[in-house]
C-alpha cells in the first residue's frame, strides 16, 4: 500500500486514518440512510401529509440521503485536502442542475406556447 502525503489531497472513498473510524462512518451512514429511506416510503403512502406537499418532502428526503451517501460512503467533504474532489462535485451538480431544470423549463414553456389540436384542425379547414 502506498503512503501518501496528506497535503496532496486524498482520493474520494479512502480515509487513510485508521479502519475503525471508517467502519463507524459506514454504520452511521447506513443508519441515516435507513431512516431517510423509510421516511420517503412513509411520506409517499401516508394520508397524514398534505397532498401537494408530498413531492417537496420527497425531494428534501432524497437530497438529504444523497448527502448522507456522499459524506459517509464516498467520504467527500469540503476539507482543505479535498479541494479537487469537492470542486469537481460542485461542477457536476451545476451541470446536472442546468440539464434537469433547463429541460423542464424549456419543455413546459413549449407546451404552454403550443397551439392546441382543436385550433390546428380549424386552421387546416
Amino acid at each position: 500500500m502506498q503512503s501518501q502525503s496528506p497535503a496532496q489531497g486524498h482520493a474520494p472513498g479512502i480515509n487513510p486514518h485508521g479502519a475503525d473510524h471508517h467502519a463507524r462512518s459506514y454504520l452511521v451512514g447506513l443508519g441515516y440512510a435507513i431512516v431517510l429511506t423509510l421516511a420517503s416510503f412513509w411520506a409517499a403512502s401516508t394520508p397524514l401529509v398534505y397532498g401537494p406537499a408530498v413531492p417537496v418532502l420527497l425531494g428534501v428526503l432524497a437530497i438529504a440521503q444523497m448527502g448522507v451517501h456522499l459524506a459517509f460512503f464516498l467520504h467527500i467533504s469540503s476539507a482543505p485536502d479535498q479541494t479537487n474532489n469537492f470542486l469537481a462535485l460542485i461542477f457536476g451538480l451545476f451541470v446536472t442542475g442546468l440539464v434537469v431544470f433547463g429541460s423542464l423549463a424549456i419543455m413546459s414553456h413549449l407546451n404552454h406556447a403550443m397551439v392546441s389540436m382543436d385550433q390546428l384542425m380549424k386552421m387546416q379547414r
Binding site: 502506498q2 502525503s5 496532496q8 489531497g9 474520494p12 459506514y26 440512510a33 444523497m66 457536476g92
Partner: protein, 206 residues
C-alpha cells in the same frame, strides 16, 4: 477531521508546487471520481427526459397503475444493504484481510444479483402486460432510465467478479487495491442514482 491540522502543517513546510506529483492512488481515485461525475450527468439527462415525458402515457397505463411500492422497497433495501457490505469489504481490502474481504464482497454480489433479478422480473411482467418500452413516451423514458441503471449494476457485478479473481490470483497488490477502491466508489455512486430513481420514478408516480 484529524488530518486537516497535519496537512496544513506539512503544506506550510513544503509548498504545494514543490511536492512533486501526487501518489498514483490519489490520481487514480480522482480520475475515477471525475468519470463518476460524468456518469451522473448521463443519468441527469435521462432523468430530465423522464421528467418531461412522464405525463405522455398515450392513453396507456400510468406510473401509479404500474408500480408496486412494496417491490420497490425490497429492491431499495437490497441495494442499500449491498452498499454497506461493499464499504465493509473495502475496509477489509485496506486491512488486506482476504477472508473478510471475500465474505463482504460475496454478500455484495448476492445482494446486487437479487436486486437485478427483482428488476428483471418487474420489466418482464410489464412487457407481458403490454406496457413495454414501445407503448408510450412515458414507458420509453422509464425503460431508458431504469434500464441504464440496471445495466450499470450488471456491469458492476461483472467487475466485482473480475476483482475477486484478481485478489485470488494476484493478492493485494497496490494495483489491485486501487481497482477495488474504484469499484467501491462505482457501487456507492450507483446507490446514489437509485435514490433519485425510487424518489422520482416510483414514489413520485401519479
Amino acid at each position: 477531521m484529524s488530518a486537516t491540522g497535519e496537512s496544513l502543517e506539512l503544506g506550510s513546510a513544503v509548498p504545494l508546487s514543490q511536492q512533486g506529483p501526487a501518489p498514483t492512488r490519489v490520481v487514480a481515485g480522482f480520475g475515477f471520481w471525475l468519470f463518476l461525475l460524468s456518469d451522473i450527468i448521463l443519468f441527469a439527462v435521462l432523468f430530465a427526459g423522464y421528467a418531461v415525458l412522464s405525463g405522455a402515457t398515450a392513453e396507456g397505463p400510468t406510473g401509479a397503475e404500474l408500480f408496486d411500492k412494496r417491490h420497490v422497497f425490497l429492491e431499495t433495501a437490497c441495494l442499500l444493504a449491498s452498499s454497506a457490505t461493499c464499504g465493509f469489504g473495502t475496509l477489509a481490502v485496506l486491512r488486506t484481510d482476504s477472508r473478510a474481504m471475500f465474505f463482504w464482497m460475496f454478500t455484495t454480489f448476492v445482494l446486487g444479483a437479487l436486486f437485478l433479478s427483482m428488476e428483471a422480473k418487474e420489466f418482464a411482467s410489464m412487457v407481458a402486460a403490454g406496457a413495454g418500452p414501445s407503448h408510450s413516451a412515458f414507458l420509453s423514458a422509464f425503460f431508458a432510465l431504469v434500464g441504464t441503471h440496471g445495466l450499470h449494476v450488471s456491469l458492476g457485478l461483472v467487475w466485482l467478479v473480475i476483482m475477486l479473481l484478481q485478489v485470488a490470483t494476484l493478492g493485494f497488490q497496490p494495483m489491485v487495491a486501487r481497482r477495488f477502491f474504484c469499484f467501491g466508489l462505482f457501487w456507492h455512486a450507483l446507490d446514489i442514482v437509485w435514490i433519485g430513481v425510487f424518489t422520482i420514478v416510483y414514489l413520485g408516480a401519479h
